[in-house]
Symmetry: C2
Subunit: 79 residues, 2 copies
């Protein structure tokens, strides 16, 4: 099973990396770009876990290691 | 218009960040995890661009700034 986890800063948390990208794009002439948010995507294979239990298992990984839940949210996709 | 750009290391390029996450997950007891790849996701609003031209415009942003096309590939989603 392939898992994909999207980790994003929560709304309201200042995204300095996004701000830097936004300023760079403006400098290159793309003035119409706004509200840039930069996140992480983790993809991995998951073996030895029942499909029904996989989402709970990946959620546990996010809470433990993959996301800083104080400032980040996450979204899980399984395929 | 909201654009979402996924930037990933090309297959075959060693993903050291992914390797570190994989080792950490193994150490936490998730031995079934393998082939971890870590990528970036950029989301932004795009104004002043015709919907028909938006994808070409975002592609230009990727080639210029958002992705290092020597080692990274990208995927664009518009909504």
């Amino acid at each position: 099973m392939r898992a994909r986890v999207h980790v994003f800063l929560k709304p309201g948390v200042l995204d300095v990396q996004g701000k830097a990208v936004e300023n760079a794009l403006h400098g290159l002439g793309w003035g119409g770009v706004s509200d840039v948010r930069v996140g992480k995507t983790l993809e991995f294979d998951l073996a030895g876990v029942e499909p029904a239990a996989a989402e709970a298992e990946v959620r546990k990984m996010c809470e433990t290691l993959l996301a800083n839940t104080v400032i980040e949210g996450y979204r899980i996709e399984l395929s």
